[in-house]
């Protein structure tokens, strides 16, 4: 049947897809979306652990994570807009002012 292992595998898969997206996509917005995906994967793992242990620890932590994800998304998008206004590019590779 569908056991906890499958949930955890799914969450790991989501995390990895998100990680791959962060590493491999060039568009900032897509990167942000991938970050959201990673967070959601972590959330799923937390919920699964909560179910395994039959308590609500995981769910409460997931709650907090969702809130943080939202806040972070907002801030991140604000930063993207500010960058776009100045540089007119959404290519992650073009943002290398911190070089050396």
């Amino acid at each position: 049947m569908i056991s906890s292992v499958h949930f955890l595998l799914l969450s790991a898969l989501m995390f990895m897809i998100g990680a791959a997206g962060v590493l491999l996509r060039r568009n900032i917005l897509v990167v942000l979306m991938s970050i959201e995906l990673m967070l959601n994967g972590a959330n799923l793992a937390l919920i699964t652990f909560s179910r395994i242990q039959a308590n609500t620890h995981g769910q409460s932590l997931a709650f907090i994570v969702v809130a943080i994800a939202a806040a972070e998304a907002a801030v991140g998008l604000a930063i993207v807009v500010a960058i776009f206004r100045g540089r007119r590019t959404t290519n992650v590779d073009d943002l290398d002012l911190m070089k050396n």
């Binding site: 292992v5 590493l23 992650v92 290398d96 070089k99 050396n100």
Partner: protein
């Protein structure tokens, strides 16, 4: 006999002070002040030395007055009466303690007298010779420095202080030979002298180190006391090679006696300093320096340092007759070799230089066969006549305005009378014609080679039996006799070509000839007087005190008649020279001699008076009926050098070395040897005079032409310099070039220095890549690190936790993430098994239910038990094991 305190430090200090003053302030001083300081320093050192030795009229006791208590010839050792003066402890480090101390014993007394007396005369001579030179002060500074160093050398009471003086005279020889350094040839000659000297010094240092390693001290008194014990019959076996099959003896790669090594190493130092084969090459080139320098350094003092060193350390050399034989052989070979080269030279100073090398060979032969007193005697007489010869040559060169080729001279006895007579006296002395000093000293040496035997030889490098050694010393006798013949010949060739016959110099040079000034003449006269009369120090036994007869009612010894005659002849020479010295010879444009000042005339007159007194004293026995002792020099040196065979080292052990001239030789043999020497000397002199009386002779010229290549070879000094250049200098120069180009420019500059900078640049470039500013790269790094951390946390470890309770051991695998592992099920489960009974298989009861549960091992008997735990991790597909040994019966946590 206890040593007596005396302020001996004054003797080297005064010349060194003079050097300091001349070198520091010399530029600003007037000429008179400079030579006042310089000459005064050396003369006062001479006075102090005389007080130390003879001053029992002034002070309480002096070396001379202590003579009465000396037993003659009772072995070696430092029971000799001596004056000491220890300044301070110079080096005190570990087991080595060196004091800066001076010692005046009979041996160093002779050396000090020779150095200061002849040195003072040469300083006075230099006043006149260097009068026109612009570097007057520097010259006298160096000359004083040299004298001071030489005095440190002879007065030091330990080998290290001797080495200080050794190096000091080497340095001063460089400074003085290259005095006119503006010319390249002179500077090169100075460098050559110093470098060749240093090569010898390497041997000297090696000898010092070996001595310290074996005996543990470098002080002469302690060495004399301890060295025979420490070195006698001692052997060093190095590099064990196994056991010889046939004889059952152990074999070694190196089987040496340290006494031999020490003797050889120190002799290498002497080879360099005293110009023996193969390190003599610097001495002929050293004629590039001013002539008084040649007189001081190469006649009287520096080159005799090697002989002094061997005599000083005689107690070490007598321990290895092999080394003594080597010393004697090298000396004899050098004597003959240099004599043959001197035949062909045409530069007046070069002939004298090779003559010096040859005479040094005589001295080393003497000390090599054990006739140490004879070596020192010849050293003293040689100092006098060779210094006189060099200074006469200097007078000639000065008079002829730097002309040094004897083919351009001739008939100078009309123009330079004083020089001529003093030169003649010294030539007679060096040729060994009877009753002059050279005759007595050479006779003593030759007697030593002819009669000496090494009663016992040491097995070693050369496996020599006493019979072979005896024949060898006879061969040395033959070589020395031949060398004496050659000496007589080439010296009188030089004399004849320079002073006899018709003048061959160019007219304009003769027109400008000026005779030597007073400061140059008087030292010549005094030295010639010494060359004539110094033989009194070493009369052979047949000539003094043996047999008397009556003459006009006076009791005389037969030998003494001859000696009295010689002294009279010498005094007549002195008187003639005195008259010539004050006669005015017509010259053109002679400058006022720089030395008519009282500082020169007073000591010179005093010394001349002393010499005349000596001659009168020699007559005293006739007038008062007493005799001059024979072999005075050996008696004087008796306590510093072995006086007879037999060195008793330990009770019941005597190491025999029969040492000349205490060998009892019958009087007839002595007369025979003296007769042979005289005849050969007369033959040599007569031959040379006959051939060269009228100048360079035609028959000789055609003989030379017919010999062709052989003559050229000898004339070119056997091309040894070229050989050294080819074999040694060129490879060294190539090696130096290789080091410069290959190592310094390429390896160090390019590879190491520039390479390191490139390396740093590269590493920096690599590091800079980490900060690319690209955020994706940073995130990638974060994720990679995260993966690594998870791996480390989750991978299986095989730490074993043991709990021993009685005879049951509880075993558990520990992983970092126990709890997590427990969750995985099915085929991803990690399996843990414990092998308790060491049979290699995991039984079902030994399997752990979960990876973190306990497995109990039951042991029935106490003792050491081996427990193996196997962890099988299906997640990563690994299998690992841990083994622990547990001791049952002990409560262990």
């Amino acid at each position: 006999m206890k040593p007596i305190q005396f302020p001996l430090f004054l003797i080297p200090l005064l010349p060194l002070l003079g050097a300091a003053i001349s070198l520091i302030f010399g530029q600003r001083m007037r000429r008179q002040s400079v030579h006042l300081v310089a000459v005064g320093a050396v003369v006062s050192a001479c006075v102090v030395a005389l007080i130390a030795i003879f001053g029992h009229w002034i002070g309480d006791v002096s070396l001379w007055s202590l003579r009465a208590g000396w037993p003659v010839g009772t072995g070696h050792g430092y029971g000799a009466p001596r004056l000491v003066d220890t300044a301070y402890t110079w080096i005190a480090s570990g087991g080595l303690e060196i004091k800066a101390g001076f010692m005046l014993d009979p041996l160093s007394a002779i050396m000090v007298l020779v150095v200061t007396f002849v040195g003072a005369l040469i300083h006075i001579y230099s006043c006149g010779y260097m009068a026109g030179d612009k570097d007057y002060a520097r010259y006298f500074g160096y000359l004083n420095l040299f004298t001071g160093s030489m005095l440190i050398l002879v007065l030091g009471d330990n080998l290290v202080l001797m080495f200080v003086g050794w190096e000091g005279v080497g340095l001063c020889s460089y400074l003085l030979i290259g005095f006119w350094y503006e010319k390249d040839a002179n500077a090169s000659a100075g460098k050559k002298a110093f470098i060749v000297n240093r090569i010898g010094d390497f041997g000297f240092i090696l000898g010092m180190l070996l001595l310290w390693a074996t005996v543990g001290t470098l002080d002469y008194s302690q060495l004399a006391a301890n060295a025979p014990e420490a070195l006698l019959d001692k052997r060093w076996h190095l590099f064990y090679q196994g056991v010889d099959m046939l004889t059952g003896q152990k074999m070694y790669l190196l089987d040496v006696q340290p006494a031999q090594l020490i003797g050889l190493s120190l002799f290498i130092g002497a080879m360099g300093k005293s110009a023996q084969i193969p390190l003599y090459i610097w001495l002929p080139d050293a004629m590039a320096g001013p002539t008084p320098v040649s007189a001081l350094i190469h006649a009287a003092t520096m080159v005799t340092a090697g002989v002094y060193m061997v005599v000083r350390l005689n107690f070490i050399y007598v321990l290895s007759p092999t080394v003594m034989l080597i010393v004697a052989s090298v000396g004899a070979l050098t004597a003959l070799y240099a004599a043959t080269i001197a035949f062909t030279q045409n530069d007046i100073k070069k002939v004298l230089a090779y003559s010096t090398v040859s005479q040094l060979g005589f001295m080393f032969t003497a000390v090599g066969v054990g006739a140490f007193g004879a070596g020192i005697f010849h050293l003293a007489t040689h100092a006098f006549f060779k210094a006189c010869l060099f200074m006469c040559a200097g007078a000639v060169i000065h008079a002829l305005h730097e002309e040094q080729d004897i083919r351009e001279m001739g008939g100078l006895r009309k123009y330079l009378p004083v020089t001529h007579w003093t030169f003649l006296v010294s030539c007679v002395a060096i040729a060994g014609l009877p009753f002059f000093s050279g005759f007595f000293s050479k006779d003593m040496i030759i007697l030593g080679t002819a009669v000496n035997t090494f009663a016992k030889t040491d097995p070693g490098v050369l496996m020599l039996t006493p019979g072979v050694v005896k024949i060898w010393t006879y061969c040395l006798y033959g070589v020395l006799t031949l060398a004496s013949l050659c000496t007589a010949f080439y010296m009188f060739r030089l004399y004849a070509l320079t002073f006899l016959g018709k003048n061959r110099t160019k007219a304009d040079v003769i027109a400008k000839l000026h005779t030597p000034s007073n400061s140059m003449r008087w030292p010549l006269i005094i030295l010639a007087g010494g060359a004539a009369t110094l033989g009194v120090l070493g009369l052979p036994a047949v000539m003094a005190g043996s047999g008397t007869f009556k003459l006009f009612g006076m009791k005389l010894t037969n030998g003494f008649i001859f000696f009295a005659g010689a002294v009279t002849a010498a005094q007549l020479l002195l008187l003639m020279a005195y008259f010539f010295a004050n006669k005015v010879v017509a010259t053109h444009g002679e400058e006022k001699p720089a030395s008519t000042v009282w500082i020169v005339q007073v000591p010179v007159t005093v010394i001349a008076a002393l010499l005349v007194f000596l001659g009168v004293w020699a007559w005293k026995p006739i007038l008062w009926g007493k005799t001059i002792p024979a072999d005075f020099i050996n008696t004087w040196l008796a306590q510093s050098v072995p006086g007879r065979s037999g060195i008793t080292v330990k009770a019941g052990y005597t190491h025999h070395l029969d040492v000349a001239p205490y060998i009892q030789v019958s009087h007839s043999w002595e007369w025979i040897f003296m007769g042979i020497a005289t005849v050969l000397a007369i033959v040599g002199v007569a031959l040379a005079l006959a051939i060269y009386r009228r100048g360079p002779s035609q028959p000789v010229g055609s003989l030379v032409a017919s010999l062709g290549w052989f003559y050229r070879l000898v004339h070119d000094k056997y091309r040894i310099d070229e050989l050294y250049d080819f074999v040694i200098i060129r490879p060294l120069t190539w090696f130096a070039w290789f080091l410069r180009k290959g190592v310094d420019e390429f390896l160090i500059d390019k590879v190491l220095v520039t390479g390191v900078s490139y390396l740093v640049y590269g590493l920096g470039w690599v590091g800079a890549q980490l900060q690319s500013g690209r955020s994706r790269q940073y995130i990638a790094a974060v994720l990679v690190g995260l993966a690594v951390m998870i791996f480390l946390v989750v991978r299986p470890t095989t730490t074993m936790t043991l709990r021993v309770k009685g005879n049951v051991v509880h075993v558990r695998a520990g992983t970092a993430a126990d709890k997590v592992v427990g969750v995985a099920g099915g085929k991803f489960r990690t399996k843990v098994g414990v092998d308790c009974n060491d049979n290699g298989k995991i039984e079902p009861n030994e399997r752990a239910a979960t990876p973190t549960s306990w497995v109990n091992c039951q042991f029935d008997k106490p003792g050491k038990q081996k427990i193996k735990m196997i962890v099988d991790d299906k997640r990563f597909g690994t299998r690992s094991e841990t083994t622990r040994v547990v001791t049952i019966g002990k409560e262990r946590r």
